[in-house]
């Protein structure tokens, strides 16, 4: 912010310039006489304001001798402009040779006086008050505010000095020229800083400071006019051209800004500047540049445009909050449209049924319009306080709430929930500091929850405030908002929202927050339940060392089943034979006949060998032979050999070497193929069976094919006897892919693909 002394010196300079300008322009009232040169005489050719004829003894065709006590032939201005806009007095010679000295007064043309003097003065004073107000209140971005104040003051000076410019007052010319080009540059500086607050930074902005050379150049040029009057016309063109360029530059900056960052603030600035500038450009700047025409528009209109610009930008500066602008504008549109229709209706009725003058009708309609508009705003406030009903612009808050709840709903832990909630809130509501703390109800103090927070706000607040804070309540303190989002027997979870760039939250934001907290509260309750369940599950899993208890039980039972099966088999076969052998040997213990003994022993030897064979084949059943010693291919070859002996079909096979580090893979392949072949022997009735085992990059593939009876695949779902079921389950344990392609009497094709990690 500008230092106090600087600010007040600027204000002083402003006042001095203003006093000079308005003193000077008060001196010469509006005249508006059109003149022409005839025989080296300056003759009155027309009146802008015919009223003048009635007040002063002056007529068309009169010869003007002197203006403001100066010989008219010395007037510089009339060389370029055949119009006497202002004059204090005039010496005129009428047709009959009489010479009058006319003294003009501001009361001659009160309306023109109002337009050309009072209005700029009001504007001048308003700008002054506005500047002081802005300085004292210091709302919004400080840097841009400086430039806004300067801009407002410069514009006011530029407007106020227009009458002096038209009068060709030299000092006035300087003031006017400089302030005219200075104001758009100040506007650019303002935009630069303003964009800065919106986090928009362009390299172009660094060039702006060099633009301040332009006013200096203009200053020199205008000084030169004093000595070279010819310069006036050129300077005017140069200045207008520069102004035009600078204004266009401003507009480009704003439009690009809006295109790149469609923020409502920029849109408002755009309309605040472009809208008033357009007629100004079209009527005031372009005509003299293109057609060397004099101003089509009066200075009154000009100052009105500047007024618009100033207030447009001030409005943005004040209500810079995005939501606010969006909110107010959408409401304004809606309300004013409504009010307009109502007003038109009423005014129409009034017009037809009551005899009333047009002017009064206009006043009436303005009054009705304003009244309805204001009533809407009052109704809105009442609605909020009494029924919590809001005017929602484009469902903005609902949408925000919806997306917040949606993203919060995906969390599983409370910690995660708080993290999400805080980031969402800081983004949506533009708070810099958002965090959740635990407040112990009995101890009336905070619990350190190890949340990494760079800035803490709650420590500087009275704990009593938190103690009294009810569930779901949002309270505003001097520098932050606090809200209780959850409460159980021991603790309250308190959300702190602080360091907001803008001022307080609006009602609709508060309602959205309350709703969000309501949801969060419920969600925390549920999340706690889920967390409990999860931890229970975790502890159960730990107890079971990665397996659910039923799994171990199942494995154990299966194992016991297998064992008893095995025991039964051994008992029925080998054990019985051994018992028999022991009995036999018992009988030979006391045999003394060597020959008989030898016969017996040979018999025993044979029996033992046969038992050994039995046992071996039994072992081979349990554990495929050769798999551990000669490997899968040897084992498979043996299997194929055995199958060929047993089967009626022709077996065609091709086996690739499968490389794997997983020791269960060979067993898997062996068992699968064994099962396929057993199945084929038992059920297929095929004339051939083909088996292919191939390796591919990620695993291996078994292809089975026969031309047997096939079956209806529906059987698979409810049959338990088929060996295929076993294969399907086996493949499932390896997370493999299995496809059975078969129809009754059409053979069967099976594809099994298993990835080996």
């Amino acid at each position: 912010m500008i230092a106090k002394k600087w600010f007040w010196s600027i204000i002083t300079i402003y006042l001095i310039l203003g006093t000079y300008i308005f003193y000077e322009s008060f001196q010469s009232p509006t005249v508006g006489l059109e003149v022409e040169v005839k025989d080296d005489h300056w003759i009155v050719s027309g009146f802008r304001y015919p009223e003048l004829k009635e007040i002063h003894p002056i007529n068309q065709g009169d010869v003007i001798l002197k203006i403001n006590n100066i010989d008219i032939h010395h007037s510089v201005k009339l060389r370029y402009d055949r119009l006497i806009s202002f004059a204090t007095n005039m010496t005129v010679m009428t047709n009959d040779g009489k010479v009058h000295n006319i003294k003009f007064s501001n009361q001659d043309l009160p309306l023109k006086f109002f337009e050309n003097y009072i209005l700029p003065l009001i504007y001048f004073l308003t700008a002054l008050i506005l500047a002081i107000y802005l300085y004292i209140n210091q709302k919004g971005n400080k840097q841009s505010l400086n430039f806004l104040i300067l801009f407002i003051l410069t514009i006011a000076i530029a407007c106020g000095s227009i009458p002096l410019y038209i009068r060709y007052n030299w000092l006035g010319l300087i003031i006017n020229s400089i302030s005219t080009v200075l104001s758009p540059i100040l506007l650019l500086s303002f935009l630069k800083n303003y964009y800065n607050t919106l986090a928009i930074r362009w390299k172009f902005f660094n060039v702006i400071k060099y633009l301040y050379i332009i006013p200096c150049i203009v200053f020199i040029l205008t000084i030169l006019e004093k000595f070279f009057p010819v310069m006036f016309a050129i300077d005017t063109l140069i200045i207008l051209f520069l102004l035009f360029l600078l204004v266009i530059l401003n507009i480009i900056v704003i439009i690009t800004g809006y295109v790149k960052f469609p923020k409502t603030q920029i849109k408002v600035i755009f309309w605040g500047i472009v809208f008033p500038f357009l007629p100004f450009l079209l009527l005031y700047i372009i005509p003299p540049m293109l057609f060397s025409q004099k101003y089509i528009f009066s200075s009154f209109g000009l100052s009105m445009f500047f007024l618009f610009i100033t207030f447009g930008i001030t409005f943005v500066q004040f209500t810079e909050r995005l939501f606010d602008i969006e909110y107010y504008i959408s409401r304004l549109k809606y309300y004013s449209l409504f009010a307009l229709t109502m007003t038109l209706g009423i005014v129409l009725v009034v017009y037809f049924f009551v005899s009333i003058s047009d002017q009064k009708l206009l006043y009436l309609s303005i009054f009705i319009f304003a009244f309805i508009l204001i009533s809407f705003y009052i109704k809105e406030k009442l609605d909020y306080f009494n029924r919590k009903v809001l005017f929602t612009p484009r469902g903005n808050y609902i949408h925000q709430l919806y997306s917040s709840i949606e993203s919060i709903g995906k969390t599983v832990t409370i910690k995660e929930l708080f993290q999400k909630l805080t980031t969402i809130l800081s983004k949506q509501l533009e708070f810099d500091v958002v965090y959740v703390i635990d407040f112990h109800i009995k101890d009336k103090q905070f619990i350190n929850n190890q949340m990494k927070q760079t800035k803490t706000l709650h420590t500087s607040l009275d704990p009593l405030l938190f103690d009294q804070l009810q569930l779901m309540e949002i309270k505003k303190t001097d520098f932050c908002y606090v809200a209780c989002i959850h409460q159980d027997v021991e603790t309250k979870q308190i959300l702190i929202l602080g360091d907001r760039k803008q001022s307080s939250l609006k009602h609709e934001e508060l309602i959205a927050l309350e709703l969000l907290f309501l949801f969060v509260n419920n969600f925390i309750d549920n999340t706690k339940l889920v967390e409990e369940l999860l931890s229970k599950l975790n502890s159960m899993e730990k107890k079971d060392q990665g397996h659910p208890y039923w799994f171990d039980k199942l494995v154990l039972l299966k194992l016991e089943d297998e064992k008893s099966h095995l025991a039964q088999d051994l008992h029925d076969s080998i054990l019985q034979e051994q018992i028999f052998l022991i009995r036999e040997m018992d009988t030979v213990l006391y045999e003394t006949n060597i020959e008989k003994l030898q016969v017996k022993l040979t018999d025993f030897h044979q029996q033992l060998v046969s038992m050994n064979h039995q046992l071996r084949s039994y072992c081979e059943l349990l554990k495929p032979p050769l798999l551990d010693t000669l490997g899968l291919n040897a084992a498979l070859n043996k299997l194929f050999l055995q199958t060929k002996k047993r089967a009626k079909f022709t077996l065609i096979y091709s086996i690739e070497e499968i490389e794997t580090t997983n020791k269960y893979v060979p067993l898997f392949i062996y068992r699968t193929i064994q099962e396929l072949l057993n199945n084929a022997i038992k059920h297929s009735e095929a004339t051939y069976v083909k088996i292919d085992l191939t390796q591919y990059a990620e695993g291996f593939e078994i292809l089975y094919m026969d031309n047997g009876v096939g079956f209806d695949k529906e059987i698979l779902h409810h049959s338990t006897s088929m060996g295929l079921k076993g294969i399907i389950e086996r493949v499932r344990t390896f997370n493999g892919y299995l496809e059975i392609d078969t129809y009754p009497n059409e053979g069967m094709q099976i594809q099994i693909r298993v990835g080996v990690v």
């Binding site: 050994n612 040897a634 043996k638 050999l641 077996l651 095929a686 051939y688 031309n707 059409e746």
Partner: protein, 209 residues
């Protein structure tokens, strides 16, 4: 003197085998039930044996690895696989020259002794069915000669040979065209051919219909 090393993880078998050689004068026997120990011995070139009797089914490492190690470290030694399994399963090791002989653990004393002596004389003592194995081994196409197709497949090939289209065959056999396509693709796969005409040709050659 013939020096023999017996490697088996079962101490009882070791003792039993050692006993076989008790009364043989020209044979001295060492035994080990630890493959690791034997590996060490080979690595350090500690002792040399004329014959190694190695069990194939051992828990830590199967005997085949040890066999090949002996073959590289002591090329002069004879390696005989000594197994409780069917020795027919290991005929391939003989063909691959991984071992010099095969002995069943149920073999009699005479069989064991003769096998060892014959092996030392570069002979081979083996059951006669080794011949069948060798025959099978070099006669892969044996299976394919027995290959037969079922009735429908034969009919399809016949009709194909007559130049019928799939839909015509389907009509003739009164099944759906999809079934015929399925059967055909299976025949192509079986005969390892890629076209119908090729299939007819190959099938004719092999008298499949």
């Amino acid at each position: 003197m013939i020096k023999i090393m017996i490697v088996d993880d079962h101490v009882a078998v070791l003792e039993g085998t050692k006993k076989l050689f008790q009364d043989i004068e020209d044979i001295s026997v060492d035994a080990s039930n630890d493959t690791y120990e034997v590996h060490q011995m080979l690595n350090n070139n500690q002792s040399f044996y004329d014959v190694y009797l190695i069990d194939i089914n051992m828990p830590n490492q199967n005997g085949i690895v040890l066999c090949s190690k002996v073959r590289t470290y002591q090329p002069a030694a004879k390696v005989i696989l000594y197994t409780g399994d069917n020795i027919e399963d290991y005929y391939s090791l003989l063909l691959d020259k991984m071992v010099h002989g095969l002995l069943s653990k149920t073999a009699s004393k005479e069989q064991v002794l003769s096998t060892i002596r014959e092996t030392l004389k570069d002979g081979l003592v083996i059951p006669a069915n080794f011949i069948d194995f060798v025959k099978d081994y070099y006669n892969d196409s044996n299976d394919e000669e027995s290959l037969k197709l079922n009735e429908r497949e034969q009919r399809i090939l016949e009709l194909l040979a007559m130049g019928h289209s799939n839909s015509m065959i389907a009509g003739e056999l009164q099944v759906s065209q999809r079934t015929i396509e399925r059967n055909l693709s299976q025949i192509l796969n079986l005969l390892n051919v890629s076209s119908r005409s090729e299939a007819v040709m190959v099938a004719k050659e092999r008298n499949l219909f």
